[in-house]
């Protein structure tokens, strides 16, 4: 069966510090991978998606970046965090079999920038 891992679960970082969040997927090959951010009380904002190794599409201009060094690994990074980067970060994957838009989400990382 497929599983998706995210770490860390919670993170408190000062403004201006770097960020690295990691997401890995098991039990599937060549998935589409996604990074979302959810601010408190808000909907999910799509940040990045990837259809393959090294292929990253950015949805929103910001100080975040994403990378996909391996088929089932997706990393979200920042060189210098802003207060507005606080939020709940979710990684998700979707398989390519058929015409299903069922996404599977990881447990999320709660980031607080102080």
């Amino acid at each position: 069966s497929q599983t998706i891992h995210q770490w860390p679960a919670t993170l408190v970082q000062p403004v201006g510090s770097p960020l690295s969040l990691e997401c890995t997927v098991e039990g599937t090959s060549n998935p589409n991978l996604y990074w979302y951010r959810q601010a408190a009380g808000r909907g999910l904002q799509l940040l990045f998606y990837s259809v393959g190794i090294g292929q990253i599409s950015s949805e929103v201009p910001q100080n975040l970046s994403a990378s996909r060094p391996q088929d089932r690994q997706f990393i979200l990074s920042s060189k210098k965090l802003l207060l507005s980067d606080s939020g709940f970060y979710l990684c998700a994957w979707r398989g390519l079999a058929g015409v299903s838009y069922e996404q599977y989400f990881g447990p999320g990382t709660r980031l607080t920038v102080t």
């Binding site: 909907g43 999910l44 904002q45 799509l46 709940f88 979707r94 996404q103």
Partner: protein, 107 residues
């Protein structure tokens, strides 16, 4: 990407049927309609997907009229545990979530 409009919130009572309507006037021919459920501090969970007419699974039904400019998610006999945010998405290959509808089920 087709924009969706759904109510911000809805209240219901246990045992009632809840119907959430989503408008998507600019839906494209290849777009599918998908609904997700989200509980606090968790990622969204897939509920149902459809292209046209009616789709039913063990959790919900999805009604889509012929023009596909709207869709209605129907939750039969809700319980307290159905209190959550429900998102309507119109998707081709990437999924973007709007603000969703907060459904509150009361005893």
């Amino acid at each position: 990407l087709a924009k969706t409009t759904q109510p911000i919130s809805m209240d219901s009572y246990e045992g009632q049927e809840v119907n959430i309507t989503c408008s998507h006037n600019n839906i494209a021919t290849n777009d599918y309609i998908t609904w997700y459920q989200q509980f606090p501090s968790q990622g969204p969970r897939f509920i149902i997907q459809g292209y046209k007419t009616k789709v039913t699974n063990e959790v919900a039904s999805l009604f889509i009229p012929a023009d596909r400019k709207s869709s209605t998610l129907s939750l039969p006999r809700v319980s307290l545990s159905d209190t959550a945010v429900y998102y309507c998405l119109v998707v081709d290959y990437k999924l973007s979530f709007g603000a969703g509808t907060t459904v509150t089920v009361r005893a």
